[in-house]
Amino acid sequence: MRPDLPLFPSQASAMAPHVDALYFYLLAVSAFFSLLIAILVIFFAIKFRRRSEDEVPVGNEGSLKLELAWTVIPLLITMTFFVWGAKLYFRMNRPPNDATQIFIVGKQWMWKLQHQDGQREINELHVPVGTPVRLTMTSEDVIHSFFIPAFRMKMDVIPGRYTQQWFRATTPGDFHIFCSQYCGTKHSAMIGTVHVMEPTAFQAWLSGGSGSESLASAGSKLFQQHACNTCHRNDSQARGPNLEGLFGKPVQLQNGQTVTADEQYIRESILMPSAKMVAGYQPIMPTFQGLISEEGILQLVAYIRSLSPSPGSAAAPSPGGMAPPVKNSSPEREAPK
């Protein structure tokens, strides 16, 4: 067996070289200070070693100048770490508008991933080189964390809410996906592979998928199955707000607050409708907690999102995957109890 001894992870995302540059800066500063202290300690220990049992050296007087120097200089250096690190963090948390969406549901102990166009994968993720990809993630049970070392990217996957992160892959190849938040017995088996592909190969992979329907159209089916359309319609019988054009817009709430209708808000509106009441409506929407799976909710969110074509957004209805708008849904469905 040839011993395999990697010392540095592959760099496969646009962010990776930036993180590494900062890391090397930290390494250089740390190496300097560790060596400085080590050399001084060893040098003093030898140079000033006790030569006779009775020797008593001259006492210290201290030095305010030195104290200030070794307070202020390290402080200034750490501030450079802070600013640089914060800048990267900010970028990591701000996905570009044109990012492709991928939805991830973690559960003990697997990753379920769905592409915008409906391809589903388990513990595997195919992505093209060069396209920004935004992950919207939630968990069905405990907290997990979605970690791709080659992308220098990690975010906790938390039950009951959505978290997001994004990346732009730069190097074709296969890389590890790890769950990095301890999540129970088979935590170390909650792993997978991300396949970074050339765009053409990726297109081929996408179309090779077995006629899966897009997320939004799966969502539109759920919308009818669960009779959401009995209330959410844009005719005179509507008892709930019209969801067309809702996504990304501010919503006026009954308590006077305004919130932006993002994924998190829509999820909450479905599972806990009374938590944030839309101004001017009665609290009649039933909760769907326990009735729709996390994946189903992601599909509903994708559907509602597709009702508001926003410029440049990857959520804009893709041809073929276009879901019927609300007004076309069958008006004669009965209302839920």
Binding site: S34, L40, S63, E67, M79, D156, P159, G160, H187
Partner: protein, 544 residues
């Protein structure tokens, strides 16, 4: 700290010191002497240290190969959980404060005992009762939540004895609180005449800061664990979103205690190092007030940085930035201490006795641990290394390379006082060297593993990580040997060691100005303090 010098190495009369004043189990279990209580703690934490070490050994053996082949996943998870719980709550938190602090604080301030001797004994019993609960859980199948007890895993999913373990930690917390309280009151009220705050040894300052954290922080972890128990038993929705709770709230509460708790583990060791470096350099400390106030600054700032454990938990970007900024600030007082210790050695008379070797080790390894803390406080880098072996390496550099080296250094330094016997110097130096080598071989490869992306708490791992893991396991075996040797020679020296003089190191510390071992009342004549601590040179030399 000048006081009357007791003539050295007078042959001891029988029954004239705290060890031989009375015999029998009852005289130990009902003692109110802080020195005897310290030894009760010493025996208990030594047991837990080796128990925790045994778990660590099994963990490292499992990680020798990439496959999960030695034990089942479930067992592996229990091993690292129990390793963490035992080492942190039952060994490291009580280690220096409850053993050396208990023994030395009254002596260093010239007092007969702590302010509340009965409370001190009660603290030990509380600790034992807490430990018994946790041991019950260990024996009856263990617990597999990780020492961090993250929800909703711990409340809704984990299948071990979460409640028994949590109850054990909850109870033991009261032992910390009472010890902290006892120290604070003692330091405020029982200082010898002339012993002003700025004449206190730095060991006392660092324990004062530690006690503040114990008293202010521990109630939070107690309540948090109580909440975990309540949710687990009564299904009250506190943390589990399925019951309407907030899973991330737990992390805030947990780290609000547990970040300060890391300073409970390191501040006392810093106190030991200040004593050792001065004694074995025969010099007063460089920048006394800076070192003293650094302890207090660490204790205060330490309460404001808990969010740095949660940079990828979905907290707001701005919250992350504030926690990052504050984490850099908390590192500065630690740096100040390191610089001052180094400067103290300059033009000293440096003795290479074992305690000083541990101090050298401490300074080097704590520096690396602290500097890697800066990597973790740097947002963009922490996203990558969070929850990988990089974290494991970071905190072991501080807790094992720092705190345990400090503890061992302190044990060697004060062993003559505690036992009245000298330890064998040659063996002790050899063991110190073995510990240093074993330690670095164990934990340095973990930095590399962490940056490569190996997550922590993994039972099995991809084969390309094997070589580094083998190095780490090899190092752990060496380290284990390094810890067993002192155990043996300390025990050996109790019987066969040379009798220790009152002040074998010629230290100025007040605790050395009485016989070894001290009489029950510590000082036959209550001492009066007339000068600053650590005055080795004569007055004219200090000025000149």
């Amino acid at each position: 700290m000048a006081a009357e010098f007791i003539p050295e190495a007078e042959p001891l009369h029988p029954r004239d010191n705290y060890l031989n004043v009375r015999y029998g189990v009852g005289s130990w279990l009902l003692t109110r002497d802080h020195k005897r209580i310290a030894l009760l703690y010493l025996a208990s934490i030594t047991f837990f240290f080796f128990l925790g070490g045994l778990f660590a050994l099994l963990i490292r053996l499992e990680l020798l190969t990439p496959g999960g082949d030695l034990v089942q996943s479930e067992t592996y998870n229990k091993l690292f959980t129990m390793h963490g719980v035992v080492m942190i709550f039952f060994f490291l938190i009580p280690s220096i404060p409850a053993v050396l602090g208990n023994f030395l604080i009254p002596m260093m301030i010239g007092a007969k005992d702590l302010a509340f001797p009965r409370l001190n004994l009660l603290s030990w019993y509380i600790y034992i009762v807490g430990a018994a609960f946790t041991m019950w859980a260990v024996v009856h199948g263990g617990v597999d939540t990780g020492w961090t007890f993250y929800t909703p895993l711990s409340t809704a999913a984990a299948n071990g004895h979460v409640v028994a373990t949590a109850v054990g930690i909850f109870i033991t917390g009261f032992s910390s609180i009472l010890t902290g309280l006892n120290f604070i009151v003692t330091i405020h009220t029982m200082r010898a005449p002339g012993l002003t705050w700025f004449r206190l040894p730095l060991f006392v300052w660092s324990h004062y800061a530690t006690s503040l954290i114990m008293v202010l922080g521990t109630p939070v972890i107690a309540v948090t664990l109580l909440m975990v128990g309540v949710e687990r038993i009564f299904h009250l929705g506190l943390f589990d979103p399925a019951l309407g709770g907030d899973p991330v709230l737990f992390q805030h509460l947990f780290w609000f205690y547990s970040h300060p708790a890391v300073y409970i583990m390191i501040l006392p060791a810093m106190g030991v190092i200040s004593e050792v470096v001065t004694t074995f350099s025969r010099k007063n400390i460089f920048g006394y007030r800076f070192v003293a106030f650094a302890s207090v600054a660490i204790a205060v700032l330490g309460f404001l940085v808990w969010g740095h454990h949660m940079f990828v938990s979905g907290q707001s970007v701005y919250a992350g930035m504030i926690f990052s900024l504050l984490s850099f600030l908390v590192a500065i007082p630690s740096a100040i201490k390191v610089f001052n210790w180094t400067a103290t050695m300059y033009r000293g008379s440096i003795s290479w006795r074992t305690p000083m070797l541990y101090a050298f080790g401490f300074i080097g390894l704590f520096t690396i641990g602290g500097l890697t803390g800066l990597f973790l406080a740097t947002l963009g880098v922490d996203v990558h290394v969070h929850d990988t072996y990089f974290i494991v390496a970071h905190f072991h550099y501080i807790m094992v390379g720092g705190a345990i080296m400090g503890y061992l250094g302190g044990m060697h330094y004060w062993w003559p006082k505690i036992s009245g016997k000298m330890y064998p110097e040659g063996w002790a130096r050899f063991a110190a060297l073995i510990v240093f080598i074993g330690f670095n071989l164990t934990f340095f490869p973990q930095f590399v593993l962490g940056y490569l992306g190996m997550p922590r708490r993994y039972h099995a791992y991809p084969p390309e990580f094997q070589v580094l893991n083998v190095m780490s396991t090899a190092g752990a075996s060496v380290l284990g040997v390094g810890y067993v040797i002192p155990m043996i020679y300390f025990a050996w020296s109790m019987r066969y060691g040379k009798n220790a003089p009152a002040n074998p190191w010629r230290s100025t510390g007040l605790e050395w100005q009485t016989t070894s071992p001290p009489p029950t009342e510590n000082f036959p004549v209550p001492p009066v303090v007339t000068s600053e601590p650590y005055v080795y040179a004569t007055e004219s030399e200090v000025v000149g």
